[in-house]
Symmetry: C2
Subunit: 136 residues, 2 copies
DNA sequence: GTCATTTTGGCACTAAAGTATGAGTTCCTT
DNA sequence: AAGGAACTCATACTTTAGTGCCAAAATGAC
């Protein structure tokens, strides 16, 4: 950002100098002044593009907002959502059970409910659907 | 895009008119010309930002570059890669077999090879790994 | 044409995943 | 305190998934 400000300032200075220079050499020539204005217009046009591109690249967060509303809409509970996230991490039912201090049976129940709520036939499809709905 | 061009053209016209107007009213006042130039500079600066934003929104491709090099590195073959993509779409082995006109046995073979090459224990983990490696 | 790799696929088997049903517990709300 | 939703777990069963081993075509490079 500091760099941008410096570049920007230098450009303004250069344009002002250009203007001052033209004022004393072509003061009587209106056509010349129009050319100077044209150059300035084009220059600032590209400066605008450049700065915008820079700032956009900074905020180029690929973070996908999680659609909480959708989760509620689908009636997915807290526990089910926890399990869903673990599924998307590629964990098995047994592994999820161990991590959440539950039995594998419980995880199976949760998974079954998740599949119904997401209208999926398999856990892999549930991952795909959940991602397309931006809930994980 | 047509709209942008029209807006752009109208702005240029307005600025030229402003310039012409100022030329006949404040022709002797250099300070006034400087102000006009400043206005033009600011105007084109924002035009640049506006147009850039428009064009960027059009090419707002959330496309994550697929790491072909990584696929080769892992020794994943064409057929295996096809199967991997189908897995990530949440399809079962039987469904993949139907789509690719192969037997389920063949798909199982491919899946097993994929799991070894991606160092995954399950297809769900393979999806997660493949995504983190940006190969799907 | 030969050799290595890829692709295909079968069979037998084990391991996970998923379904169905039922039931006890906890927690929140009215 | 009663009712409902959420959470927990079990048992029995069916369906997928995944492994190991083998082997025949097909493909492509040298």
């Amino acid at each position: 950002m500091k760099k941008t400000i410096v570049v920007f300032s230098l450009l303004i200075l250069a344009i002002l100098l250009l203007f001052q220079f033209s004022k004393y050499t072509f003061i009587s020539n209106n056509l010349q002044i129009e050319i100077v204005i044209g150059i300035i217009a084009i220059a600032f046009f590209f400066i605008g593009i450049y700065i915008n591109k820079k700032s956009l690249h900074k905020t180029d967060t690929p973070s996908v907002e999680i659609n909480m509303k959708k989760i509620e809409e689908l009636g997915i509970t807290k526990r089910e959502y926890e399990v869903l996230k673990k599924i998307s991490e590629g964990l098995s039912n047994k592994e999820i059970a161990t991590i959440l201090f539950l039995s594998e049976s419980t995880i199976k129940t949760h998974v079954s409910n998740i599949l119904v709520k997401l209208d999926a036939k398999r856990r892999t499809q549930a991952i795909q659907i959940a991602k397309s709905l931006q809930i994980i």
